[in-house]
Symmetry: C2
Subunit: 652 residues, 2 copies
C-alpha cells in the first residue's frame, strides 16, 4: 500500500506516516474496536445509506430512481456516502474483502452516475425542489455544504485509489475538483466564495498529493487565505460561526463551530506543509496551544456549547452541557496528527492520544454500530430530553444528521496509519512510534532499507511496551548503519523506565525516547510506562470542575456510572476522598475487558436541607457513610444503557 489518509510530499514535513497496511494493529483494545467497526458498523452503515435515502438522492440526480422518489435528509447527505466509502476503502486495505470491494464499486458507480456533465456533484442541490435551501448551485454556500461534500468525496477517492488501486472514484473527484478550480478564485468571471463548512481544503491537498495536480493545492491555499476576510456573506450569522472573523494566519485561538474550526485548521496545516508556509504553521501552533490550554475537555472533547455547536470562551468547559461532538474529536485528531507530522513535537501525539482514547471512542458503542453525537462529561437522568442529539435518548443507530457514524468508521479503519512515522527529526533517520498497540510494521528507513518491528503491549490496561526489531534491510545485515528508534513517552508517564538489553535508558515524559544504534534483528527496546492512578484537577477557572478531581490512568480518563455504584449511592451525591488509595481491578468480564478503579468516597441522601445556599461559614453537612465506588473508562460509558455519569468528582 502506498499511503494512508495523509501522505505529505517528501521533504515538506518532519515526519512521514508509515502507511496502514505497512503498519498493522494486530490485537488488543483497538483491534477489538476495529473488528466491531468492520463486522458491524460498516455493513450496517451500508444499509443505512439505503434506508436513510442517501443513495436515493444520488439516484434521483442520476435519473435512475423509481418514479416518485423524493429527495430526503439534510443538504449534505452525499457526504455520508463519501465518508462511508472512505471507511470501506481503508478497511479493504487493512484486509482485502470481496464484499467490501463489491460495495465500493457499487457505490462508486452510484456517485459517478449522479455527477453532472461538467463535473458538478451534489445530489441534493441537483434535484432539490427549493424546500431544502436556496435553489441552485453555490447559491447558499454558507449553508449548502456543496464543497464540504466535495471534500469528503476527495478524501474517499484518495482512499479508494490508495487502498484498492482502482481509479473510478478518483476520476469523479478529479472532474469535480477541476470544476471547482474553474469556478472559484479571483480570476475573471470566477466566484469569490467559500463553503460555510470547511473540509474541502484537506480534501484538495490530498487530491493534489495523490494526482500531482498542483492547481488543487493552490485552490486549497486560496480558500484558507480567503477565510477571515468576511468572504461569507448573507448568511445571517456571526462570521465567528464560520471561522470567518479573522484570517487563519492571524488567529490566536479557535472559535465558532468546533468541527468547522478544526477541519479548517487541519486543512491549513496541510497547506502550510505543502507550501512551506512557516508563518501559517506558527499561527496554527499558537492556536492549537491556546485550544489545548483553555478550550479542551480533559477527555479531549472540543466544543463547549450546544448553541451552534461552538467553542466557548477560555475555561468555559461545562460538564453536563458539554457538546464535544464526536466529529470534533475526530477533527482534533486530524489536526493534531498533521501538526505532529509537520513539527515532530510529542505534544501533538499526546494530544491525539487523549482525544483518541477518550472523547473519540465514547462516541461509539463497543458493538461499533451505536453512536453518540454529543459527549458530555456528566449526565443526569433529566439532561436535555428535548434535544434529539442528547445522550438522554440513548446511543442511536443513525442520526438525521449522520455526520458522526461514518466519520467514526473511517477513523477506526485508518487508525493503523497513526502507529508510526519515519523521518529524521534529530538528524538521524529512523522510525517513531506514537500509538501503543500490539502491532507489526515495516518502515522504510533512508540509508537502511526496510525495517520490520513487532510491538507487544497490553496498553492501555498495562504500561509495558516491548518493541522487537524483527528484520533490518530485508534480511541482509546492514553493517554499521545506525538509525534511530524513537518511542513516545507520554507527558503523564513520570517514572517511566526503558532498556535495550542490559542498557538502562532515561525516558523523559513528554518527549520521544530516541535510541540511535545499529539496530539488528532480535534487538528489543522495552519501555515501561507507570500506570499509577492519577487524580487530576482542572484550572480553577473551569467552574464546574472546581473542588473536584478526575481519575486518570495511563491515557484513560475515568467516569463514575450509576450502574456500578453500591445500592443507594447516587453519583451526583458522592464526595471522593482524594487522600485514600484508589483500588485498581482488572475486569475481563466487563465491557470487553477493562481495568476499573475503586476510589473511596462518602455518600449521603439525595435530598438537601431547606435551601440550596447556606452560610459559607457553616460547614457542609457530613456527606454520609464511607463507600467504595467504581469508575470505568469514559471511553466505554453508556454501553449498558444511559444513566447518571460524571467525570469530575467533588472532593469536599
Amino acid at each position: 500500500m502506498v499511503a494512508g489518509p495523509v501522505r505529505p510530499t517528501p521533504g515538506t514535513t518532519a515526519l512521514q506516516p508509515v502507511a496502514p497496511g505497512a503498519a498493522r494493529i494486530t490485537g488488543g483494545y483497538w483491534a477489538d474496536r476495529q473488528r466491531a467497526n468492520r463486522e458491524n458498523a460498516i455493513p450496517t452503515g451500508r444499509e443505512r445509506l439505503e434506508s436513510a435515502g442517501n443513495l436515493t438522492n444520488l439516484r434521483i440526480a442520476a435519473g435512475t430512481a423509481p418514479e416518485g422518489a423524493q429527495v430526503t435528509g439534510p443538504i449534505f447527505m452525499d457526504s455520508d456516502v463519501h465518508k462511508w466509502l472512505e471507511a470501506a476503502a481503508w478497511e479493504h486495505g487493512r484486509e482485502p474483502s470481496e464484499q467490501l470491494l463489491g460495495w465500493i464499486r457499487e457505490l462508486t458507480a452510484e456517485v459517478a452516475a449522479a455527477q453532472a456533465e461538467d463535473g458538478y456533484l451534489d445530489s441534493v442541490v441537483q434535484v432539490q425542489d427549493g424546500s431544502l435551501g436556496k435553489r441552485g448551485r453555490y447559491a447558499d454556500l454558507p449553508w449548502s455544504h456543496e464543497m464540504y461534500c466535495a471534500g469528503h468525496l476527495f478524501q474517499a477517492a484518495v482512499a479508494v485509489s490508495r487502498a484498492t488501486g482502482e481509479r473510478g472514484l478518483l476520476d469523479v473527484a478529479v472532474k469535480l475538483a477541476d470544476h471547482l478550480d474553474a469556478t472559484f478564485g479571483d480570476g475573471e468571471g470566477q466566484l469569490r466564495d467559500v463553503d460555510g463548512h470547511p473540509v474541502v481544503e484537506m480534501g484538495l491537498v490530498e487530491l493534489f498529493r495523490e494526482t500531482g495536480e498542483r492547481r488543487y493545492l493552490e485552490l486549497a491555499r486560496w480558500m484558507v487565505e480567503a477565510r477571515g476576510t468576511g468572504i461569507i456573506e448573507g448568511h445571517g450569522k456571526e462570521p465567528t460561526y464560520f471561522s470567518d472573523r479573522v484570517r487563519v494566519r492571524e488567529a490566536t485561538t479557535v472559535e465558532g463551530h468546533a468541527v468547522r474550526a478544526v477541519y479548517l485548521t487541519a486543512g491549513a496545516a496541510d497547506v502550510a506543509a505543502e507550501t512551506g508556509d512557516a508563518e501559517l504553521l506558527a499561527a496554527l501552533e499558537r492556536q492549537f496551544a491556546h485550544m489545548w490550554a483553555t478550550k479542551t475537555y480533559i477527555t479531549g472533547g472540543l466544543g463547549s456549547r450546544w448553541d451552534w455547536e461552538a467553542f466557548g470562551d477560555p475555561y468555559e468547559l461545562p460538564s453536563d452541557r458539554a457538546y464535544a461532538e464526536t466529529c470534533a474529536a475526530i477533527g482534533g485528531i486530524q489536526w493534531a496528527w498533521r501538526m505532529l507530522l509537520s513539527t515532530g513535537d510529542a505534544r501533538y501525539a499526546d494530544a491525539a492520544e487523549r482525544m483518541l482514547h477518550n472523547g473519540f471512542p465514547a462516541g461509539v458503542s463497543l458493538s461499533g454500530d451505536e453512536y453518540f453525537y454529543v459527549n458530555p462529561l456528566q449526565f443526569r437522568d433529566g439532561s436535555h430530553p428535548f434535544e434529539n442529539r442528547s445522550p438522554a435518548h440513548g446511543r442511536r443507530g443513525w442520526f438525521d444528521c449522520a455526520c458522526c457514524p461514518p466519520n467514526i468508521m473511517r477513523t477506526l479503519s485508518s487508525l493503523d496509519g497513526h502507529l508510526a512515522t519515519t523521518g529524521a527529526v534529530d538528524g538521524t533517520e529512523g522510525v517513531q512510534l506514537h500509538l501503543f498497540a500490539p502491532s507489526s510494521l515495516t518502515a522504510q528507513v533512508e540509508g537502511v532499507g526496510p525495517v520490520r518491528l513487532a510491538v507487544e503491549t497490553g496498553y492501555p490496561w498495562d504500561g509495558g511496551v516491548r518493541v522487537q526489531v524483527e528484520e533490518v534491510g530485508q534480511g541482509e545485515p546492514v553493517d554499521g548503519a545506525q538509525w534511530t528508534l524513537s518511542v513516545r513517552v507520554p507527558a503523564w508517564a513520570a517514572g517511566a523506565t526503558a532498556r535495550v538489553g542490559d542498557q538502562q535508558l532515561q525516558p523523559q515524559p513528554g518527549t520521544y525516547l530516541r535510541v540511535t544504534r545499529a539496530w539488528a534483528a532480535g534487538d528489543v527496546l522495552q519501555l515501561d510506562l507507570p500506570l499509577d492512578v492519577r487524580l487530576s484537577r482542572a484550572d480553577r477557572r473551569v467552574d464546574d470542575a472546581r473542588g473536584a478531581v478526575a481519575l486518570e490512568r495511563g491515557p484513560l480518563v475515568y467516569a463514575l456510572e450509576q450502574v456500578d455504584q453500591p445500592e443507594g449511592v447516587l453519583v451526583d451525591d458522592v464526595v471522593v476522598d482524594a487522600g485514600a488509595p484508589v483500588g485498581v481491578e482488572r475486569r475481563d468480564d466487563l465491557l470487553g475487558g477493562v481495568v476499573v478503579l475503586h476510589p473511596r468516597g462518602r455518600s449521603a441522601g439525595h435530598e438537601g436541607g431547606g435551601a440550596t445556599w447556606l452560610p459559607a461559614a457553616e460547614p457542609e453537612p457530613a456527606p454520609g457513610s464511607d463507600v467504595e465506588l467504581t469508575a470505568v473508562p469514559y471511553a466505554v460509558w453508556a454501553n449498558r444503557g444511559v444513566g447518571p455519569m460524571r467525570v469530575w468528582l467533588p472532593v469536599r
Copy 2:
C-alpha cells in the same frame, strides 16, 4: 380601592392582602423603580403595542384595520395587550391619571371590538391564515395559548374593574369566560382539553372573586385537576414540558417549562384556597419546598435550562447557562404570595423577597424600559451570542416574544399590594408587614376598625425599620382593644433587635415578630435588621458554585461586574479571600444610589499554563496580586452595558 390582584374570599386564607392604594410605597428603592415604570415603561409599552402589531391584530379581528394589514407576531400577541392593560390599571389605581385612564379606555375598546359574537377572543386565531399554527379555534391548544391570553385578559379586567371602577373590560372577560365555561369540561359535547400554557386558572379564580360567579372557580378547578392526566395530546413534546406528567396534587416537585409550571401552581393555590382543598395545598407546599431546596438560584431565579425554558434536575443550577426567565421570577413571586396568604408562613414571604429583590429586578433596567428575558448568574463576553434572548445582545426595548416587559410593568404597579396583610394567624387579629419600604397603609383590623401605619426605612440599603401607628379606629380611641402588629424578620437576619418604646423584644429570624397590645396612635415599633455582609455557599451538588461563595447583604445578592474592577483584573480570573473583611460603601452617585461591597481578592493573568487540567496534588499556582474588588447588587447589573459578570466567586 377594593383590592389588588389577589382578593381571597374572606375566611378562605390565613391572611388577606391590604389593597394597593390602602397600602402605598411612598419613597425609596421601590418608589424609584415604580416611577421609572410609570414614566417610561408604561408609555413606551403603549407605543410598542402599536408598533409591534398587537393592536393591528385586534383591529384585523374587529374588521377595523386598514386594507392589507397583516397579522403579526407570536400567537399570544393579545396577552401583551392584556398585561399592559393590567399594569396601566394598577398604576392608575396608585395615582389616578387622565392619560392612563384614556389609554385604558382606548385599549378596552380595541379588545372589545375584536371579541367574537359568542364571546370567543384571540385575534391571531380569529384572523390567522394557517401560517401561525393549526387553523381554527382550540385546534392546537398545547401551543395556541388561547386560554393563556384569556387568563391575562381576566386578570386585566379585574384590575381595571378594581382600579378604575369601570366595567367595560370586565364585560368582555365575563363573555369570554362564559364561552370557555360552555365549551370546556366533562359535559356532553364539551371539549376535554386544557391550554398548554397555564395562567387561565389564576385568571378564572380572580374573575370568580370579582364577579361572584362560581362557575369560573369550578372551571379553574377542573383545569387544575385535568392536568397530569395526559390530557394534552398530539403536541409532539414530553408531557413534562406542559406540566402534564403527573397530577398537581400528586406532584412532588416542579418540572418542565418553568413559567408554565409556576403559573399552574399559583393557580392551583388559588383553587385550593377557594375550595378549601387541604390536600392540594399540602401538595403545593411540598412542591414549593422542593423547588426552593433544589431548583432555585440564589437570586431566586427559576429554570436552569435554555432547552424548553425548563427546570432542571435537583441541583442542576448552572450559572452561565441559567435561563431564569424574568417571567419565571414573577410567577414565583405570585405563587409564593398565594402560599403566604394561605398559610401565613414566613418562609414564603422570605422567598418572595429573594425573588423580588434579585431575580426579578435584574430583568429590567433602572430606566424601566429595557429588559432582559434571561437572567444568568454569570456572563462571559462570548456567552450565547447566537441566542437572541441572550444578554449578549444587551438589554432590549422589546422582544419578538414580549411576555416579560408587560409582566414586569404589572408587577411593579401592583407591588404596593405586597406590603401588608390582615388576619389572625396566631389568634389575635392584626396587621402583618412583609415588604419593607417607606410606606403608609390603612388596614381594617377586625374588632378594631381602621388602623393607619407609617413605615420609615432605608431598606434594602439600611436595616432599620420604624413602624409608627398613626391612627387606630379613625381617631376614636378603642379602649383596651388589643391587636397584633407583626413584622417579618427575614431568615438571614440573625442578631436582629426590636423594641416598642423601652420594651426590648426578641425577634426570631425566619418568623414574624408579633406584638400584641392595645396599640395607640404614636406608638412605634422599631426593628433593626443587621446588614452584615454574608458569604454564602451553595449545596456542594451545585457544580459550578463549588469552591465559591456569593456575597449577600440584607435581601440583596451581589455580583462582580467587569466595569467596576481595577485595571487588568478580569472577573473570571478572580479568587476572593473569604477570611478578609468585606468593605461596605454607600455610593449615591452610582446606579441610582446603591451600597457596593469591596471584597479582597487576588488576580492573576488570564492565560493559563500548558493545559486546562493538572495533577491534583500540584497546588494551584498563586493567583497573583492582592486586589480590592467591587461588587454591586445583582438587581442592577447591566445598567452600564453588558460585560463579564459573576455571582459565584471562587475562594481558592
